[in-house]
């Protein structure tokens, strides 16, 4: 279980998170929606210790992330797959090596690494792209390699940072299907950060809206669809103020 507990974070004096509190239950996919710059990605990066909170904390299965020492943080990160907004693939490595990198860190035998790379690429429909470099891939393909890199580790948690941003509607739908498939195959708990409502409705069990640094509303997909909160309504309907 991932728990955001009264998380506060500011950058250069600008308060981004002001008491963000939210629980992600085991086995569910929770979608965090919100305006651009509202702090969704900032919240997500606290889960893997890429950012340190000014106050509050994130706990993963009871472990307070900001208090972990290096080995404990590395152990925690081994349980979490992170898919970055622009995939963050290593330019100098080909597709297979990108997927292989995290597996090598775990010290797995070479044949198991090869098998997991093959499986992960097959799951994201990228079989046969092993030798291609990130610069030779489309945006959608790069994001799928990012997912393959994360799922090859067989994590307990998957964190997706804006997985459909910058993609055309069809490729976005492919990504949504992939996230659902990943959850079905691996049974992982997921947190998806997005402002794409179609994607949120497709992949989420619950949706939370982050507004002015804290959770404005959290509920099932149906509850969010039926919300009467004017701020949430305006966002999900995409109405300008």
């Amino acid at each position: 279980m991932i728990q955001f507990q009264d998380l506060h974070k500011a950058f250069d004096g600008k308060q981004v998170l002001t008491g963000f509190t939210l629980d992600v239950k085991d086995g569910e996919t929770l979608v965090i929606i919100g305006y651009s710059g509202s702090g969704k990605s900032v919240a997500l990066k606290h889960v893997v210790g890429l950012l340190h909170p000014d106050a509050g904390d994130v706990t993963v299965d009871g472990r307070a992330v900001s208090t972990l020492d290096r080995p404990s943080l590395a152990a925690l990160r081994r349980e979490i797959g992170f898919v970055f907004q622009f995939a963050a693939l290593f330019d100098s490595l080909n597709v297979a090596d990108n997927v292989r990198l995290g597996l090598e860190r775990r010290g797995l035998p070479a044949d198991e690494i090869a098998e997991r790379v093959r499986e992960a690429l097959a799951l994201v429909d990228l079989t046969g792209t092993d030798d291609r470099y990130p610069a030779e891939l489309s945006g959608g393909m790069r994001k799928r390699v990012g997912i393959a890199r994360a799922i090859a580790l067989r994590p307990r948690y998957m964190l997706y940072d804006e997985p459909t941003t910058g993609l055309d509607p069809v490729t976005s739908a492919v990504m949504d299907r992939l996230m659902v498939r990943t959850r079905e195959h691996l049974g992982v708990t997921g947190v998806v950060v997005t402002h794409d409502m179609r994607s949120a409705y497709t992949v989420g069990d619950r949706i939370a809206m982050l507004y002015e640094g804290r959770v404005r509303q959290v509920g099932t997909v149906e509850e969010i669809r039926q919300t009467e909160d004017p701020v949430v309504r305006q966002f999900i309907e995409g109405r300008p103020s």
């Binding site: 210790g49 890429l50 990160r77 081994r78 970055f84 963050a88 990198l101």
Partner: protein, 254 residues
């Protein structure tokens, strides 16, 4: 005015603190041999082989110019075989290490800052961390070790090239015989001439690569930030290199 001075002082103290933290993290990462051990040879090849043509090119012309300038200075007053002395001493003690160092500050330091800066702004460094790698052991240690190990090799070859072209220039343009050139070369030679230049170049390699890594990993703000980091890496490296040069002269040559 006072507020400005205060802000600058605080920023300076913070920068020193960040530098200290960075170096301490790098030293700690040395224990992760499994990671940096396999990546260091790759960086050694990049730093060494890729940088060699630039260093040799500069050294070759420096050797010729030194021989001609020495001859121009000595004519009629000092025996011409001192050309060999001046070419050898100057290449070994100063121009070999410093000119190659300055050239490589641009070649190696800038490329490291640009590469790591791009990795930082495209979240590749964050991705490394989420894969449970320590960026220090994966990115920094191999580069700094490679720089420290390869700079003396590059500089040694640059010194040899400079002396060789100095000899050729003496032979072909100054009517100096090989025996005379070698006589001059050996005249005031001390073993310290060799190790001083190579030791100094190792510290240059360490500094240039460390600065490239610190500036690169501290990059903020997209393409503009990468450009700024690249420029800063060259400027800081060059300034530190010249300061180190004076420092080692004061410490080791007095």
């Amino acid at each position: 005015m006072i507020a400005h001075v205060g802000r600058s002082a605080v920023a300076g103290i913070k920068a020193v603190g960040r530098f200290g933290q960075f170096v301490s993290d790098m030293v700690r990462a040395l224990s992760d041999v499994a990671t940096w051990g396999r990546l260091t040879p790759v960086q050694m090849r990049r730093v060494g082989v890729d940088s060699l043509p630039v260093a040799l090119f500069i050294a070759a012309f420096t050797g010729v110019v030194l021989a001609l300038q020495a001859s121009y200075t000595f004519t009629g007053t000092v025996p011409l075989y001192f050309v060999g002395t001046l070419v050898g001493k100057t290449m070994m003690l100063e121009l070999g290490p410093v000119l190659a160092g300055l050239a490589l500050a641009g070649r190696v330091g800038a490329s490291m800052a640009a590469e790591l800066g791009t990795m930082r702004v495209t979240e590749q460094v964050d991705a490394l961390e989420t894969l449970a790698y320590d960026p220090q052991s994966y990115l920094v240690v191999p580069r700094v070790l490679a720089g420290t190990a390869m700079f003396p090799v590059i500089v040694a070859l640059a010194i040899l090239t400079g002396i060789l072209t100095g000899w050729l220039a003496s032979l072909l343009l100054l009517d100096l015989s090989t025996q005379e050139f070698i006589k001059g070369l050996k005249l005031f030679y001390r073993f310290k001439d060799t190790w001083f230049g190579l030791f100094k170049s190792a510290t240059f390699g360490f500094t240039i690569t460390l600065v490239g890594c610190i500036v690169g990993l501290g990059t903020r703000g997209g393409a503009e930030g990468v450009g700024r980091s690249t420029m800063q890496a060259v400027v800081y490296s060059a300034v530190l290199l010249l300061m180190l040069d004076a420092f080692w002269a004061m410490v080791l040559l007095r």
